[in-house]
């Protein structure tokens, strides 16, 4: 279907859909519409992606030459800590949340999520939490003990001041946001599917959102407890992580990684879901082995709870522990591989149209294979004794998180940008973005495999001359600068396309799933008439959808009213956190008071007014 046909449709209905994003600042602050919430997640996530990227560039510039004095170790340690924390919690997770928010209700044929105000709450808690965490730069310095904050470096003895308090409280707040959102999506996906959409007919992105949501609610509590133990040690003087009093610093590591390993699948699975939709669409073929792709996603999530100590192979777990965790880690490679093979099989025999979403999806697969293979190298506990804590791990994590997750998210951005904004992103600028990005990405991170194997440890603010690290560090630095530039090209694409981009109709790509049945951007109620599905790829069925979901004669659906309570409740939480960091009990109590008042205000406010 050509795009020009589609734009004839939008001309007439454009006026109606002005309402989707119209309204002033107040309408955005009080919105409970999943689409607006999704856009706000995306904007803030991308902002923090740039912040984390800047932190990375400073790191790379410092490491471009040996014994550089450009950045002192104190600042460097804050930079690498915040780079990790920002990218994981403030960029990738919210960017995934942006897609969950915008697309899942559309894909299941719903008008919104199950709990629209809880959804808004998740957003505002994230925003305020992110600002709280980053405000640490202004109040004594940002957290500086790594994104993983190992005890007992994080004790008040070895980390005096408030930096780690900012970290602990910031992460707790972000955890609240994530858990609330995950609960919402679990109920939404279970309960709000259109008639006929059984679980095994759901789009893959929705499936992966579903699995990710379970990971979130089951994994976060472990780090919640770890952070509480740390906070008690720091604030009240308990000895959970004080070896002198019998405490065990390894307890922190276990709790952190019981959360931390599922966390990386939380980061990855949404991207896998996106790629599982983009590839069929641009191959004009259904996903090969749909049930296997679904089951392997579930298996990855399940097994993901059983591999955590592969982050601790150098800790001295003993041969039994190391053997067990090596085995489970190797096992998880199997369902991961199954997905990759199914994607290739989807393309095989297909009719591939190389538009930007497919470029990034293929780039994702190519880079993820490398990241996955270095992961298999890590899975061998003995071999890992050389690799762990070196730049080899840094290479691995960036191949899976950037080459993997970020490429997949860009695929999703190019894919769904037309649906969200009504405009097409430029293919020309997109190609420049893609090629510059994939080449510079490899230049940045491939040398790091060698640096690690040749003995360069990670989390070091400098390295000495004479160890042979200079050339590859310089290459990596140059690559990172070009990589940063490629992101700017993408931003230019966004701004240029918003102003002058081609109009997108409802279905610029010939997609199979329900979101392509409605206008771009969608009307605020999404579907005027509830769709009914009879197959896995409803829009590809003979004759398409049998219900006209846009029937203008149907009554216009009434949507939930906006509300300020979610924002107020979020604010109360962060106010209490501010009081805790400032050790001002009065402010903590004030925050708690706001929280209680907001809960009651929210509970007694009807959803629709």
């Amino acid at each position: 279907m050509s795009v020009s046909e589609a734009s004839h449709d939008t001309a007439g209905t454009a006026a109606v859909h002005e309402g989707t994003y119209s309204g002033g600042l107040w309408s955005w602050v009080t919105t409970v519409d999943h689409k607006r919430i999704g856009i706000m997640y995306a904007v803030f996530a991308f902002f923090f992606f740039l912040v984390g990227g800047l932190e990375a560039l400073l790191i790379r510039i410092q490491l471009g030459s040996p014994e550089s004095t450009l950045i002192d170790p104190d600042l460097y340690n804050q930079l690498f800590t915040m780079h990790g924390t920002t990218m994981v919690f403030l960029a990738v997770m919210p960017l995934s949340a942006a897609f969950f928010n915008f697309m899942v209700p559309l894909q299941i044929g719903a008008r919104d999520v199950a709990f629209p105000r809880l959804n808004a709450f998740s957003l505002w808690v994230f925003v305020f939490g992110a600002l709280f965490l980053n405000s640490s730069f202004l109040f004594g310095g940002a957290p500086d003990a790594g994104w993983f904050g190992y005890a007992n470096l994080t004790s008040t003895q070895y980390s005096p001041g408030v930096r780690i308090d900012f970290w602990v409280l910031g992460l707790q707040i972000l955890g609240v946001s994530s858990i609330a959102a995950a609960l919402n999506f679990i109920v939404t996906i279970i309960n709000l599917r259109a008639p006929g959409m059984s679980l095994m007919r759901m789009p893959l992105f929705t499936w992966m959102t579903f699995v990710t949501s379970f990971l979130l609610i089951l994994a976060f509590p472990a780090i919640t407890v770890g952070l509480v133990l740390l906070m008690f040690d720091r604030t009240f003087g308990t000895s959970f992580f004080n070896p002198a009093a019998g405490g065990d610093v390894l307890l922190w590591q276990h709790l952190f990684w019981i959360f931390g390993h599922p966390e990386v699948y939380i980061l990855l699975l949404p991207g896998l879901g996106i790629v599982s939709e983009v590839i069929p669409t641009f191959s004009r073929k259904p996903l090969f082995g749909y049930p296997f792709v679904v089951y392997s996603g579930i298996l990855i999530a399940f097994l993901g709870f059983g591999v955590w100590a592969h982050h601790m192979f150098a800790v001295g777990l003993g041969p039994i522990g190391n053997t067990v965790f090596s085995a489970t880690t190797m096992l998880i490679a199997i369902p991961t591989g199954v997905k990759i093979f199914n994607w290739i099989a989807t393309m095989w025999g297909g009719s591939l149209r190389f538009k930007m979403p497919l470029y990034f999806a293929v780039g994702f697969i190519a880079m993820f294979i490398i990241g996955g293979l270095s992961g298999v190298m890590h899975s061998s506990a003995a071999a890992d004794l050389q690799q762990t804590d070196s730049y080899f791990v840094v290479a691995h994590i960036h191949y899976v998180l950037f080459g993997g997750v970020i490429f997949a998210l860009f695929s999703g951005i190019y894919y769904w940008f037309p649906k969200i904004t009504g405009k097409m992103l430029s293919e020309g600028i997109g190609k420049a973005h893609f090629w510059l990005m994939i080449i510079s990405f490899n230049l940045t991170f491939f040398p790091q495999h060698y640096l690690g194997m040749h003995g360069m440890p990670r989390r070091t603010f400098t390295y000495q001359e004479g160890l042979g690290f200079e050339a590859m560090n310089l290459m990596s630095t140059i690559g990172s600068l070009v990589l940063g530039f490629s992101i700017l090209i993408f931003l230019w694409n966004v701004f240029h396309s918003l102003r002058k981009g081609e109009s997108a109709g409802p279905d610029p790509w010939g997609g199979a799933t329900l979101e392509w049945a409605i206008d771009s951007p969608p009307p605020h109620y999404n579907f005027r008439v509830e769709p009914v599905v009879h197959s896995r790829d409803p829009l590809w069925a003979e004759g398409g959808l049998d219900v006209d979901v846009n029937d203008p004669t149907a009554p216009e659906p009434h949507m939930p009213s906006p509300s300020l309570w979610p924002c107020i409740l979020a604010f109360g939480l962060v106010l209490a956190a501010i009081g805790a960091v400032a050790k001002a009990l009065l402010i903590v109590l004030l925050g708690a008071g706001v929280v209680v008042a907001a809960i009651y205000g929210w509970a007694f406010q009807p959803l629709e007014r």
């Binding site: 008008r111 919402n184 509590p221 133990l229 405490g247 009554p555």
Partner: protein
């Protein structure tokens, strides 16, 4: 007007027939299991590893805790009675049993407060040793959950008294019950691990 109401955001309420709010509470309870699980792991890891006393065997008073445990278990019974009453729109009984549940919860909390202050007098504080830290954190977290439940129940009681709670809100009372029963079950696990496995 009724047409728009019919075409409201909820569309067909649920693919499963279960109300969304109940599903939300179940999912939340799943998450809470992992929370208490992590706290319990911490307690178990540090069992027997306190360097200084007082130690559990010095302080834990099983008969006393058995009484408070019984009280909490009875509160689950009154919760069930409250729900049954609200479901059949017998708001007089509903008010009674909601209040009883809240009161029994408060008695349990009073017992916890008594036990905690007694321990402190005997020299076990939060920072005294690993037993103190893990014990107070674990049981304190549970107590905080009971406290939230009590406030919630009292809120429902007040609503009932002002006539705003009827059988139409039975689902809300049921979800409250789910939470309350969960808190009770957690206590049974804690009671077993802390007191019975000394």
């Amino acid at each position: 007007m009724s047409e728009t109401a019919a075409a409201s955001a909820e569309m067909h309420q649920s693919s499963t027939g279960l109300p969304s709010r109940k599903l939300l509470m179940w999912a939340f309870i799943g998450s809470e299991c992992m929370l208490f699980g992590s706290l319990i792991i911490t307690y178990l890891v540090y069992r027997g590893r306190s360097i200084v006393g007082p130690y559990p065997e010095d302080l834990l008073n099983i008969p006393f805790i058995t009484v408070t445990t019984f009280v909490l278990l009875m509160s689950s019974l009154t919760m069930v009675l409250a729900l049954a009453a609200v479901q059949r729109n017998d708001m007089r009984q509903g008010k009674l049993w909601l209040l009883m549940t809240a009161l029994l919860g408060l008695v349990f909390l009073a017992g916890q407060v008594y036990e905690f202050t007694h321990f402190v007098h005997e020299g076990l504080g939060l920072t005294t040793n690993l037993f103190g830290a893990s014990f107070f954190l674990l049981t304190g977290t549970h107590g905080a959950h009971v406290f939230v439940g009590v406030i919630w129940l009292l809120t429902l009681f007040v609503l009932a008294v002002s006539g705003k709670l009827t059988s139409e809100n039975a689902e809300t009372v049921e979800i409250t019950g789910l939470y309350w029963h969960f808190v009770d079950v957690v206590w049974i696990v804690l009671f077993t691990i802390i007191y019975l496995l000394v």
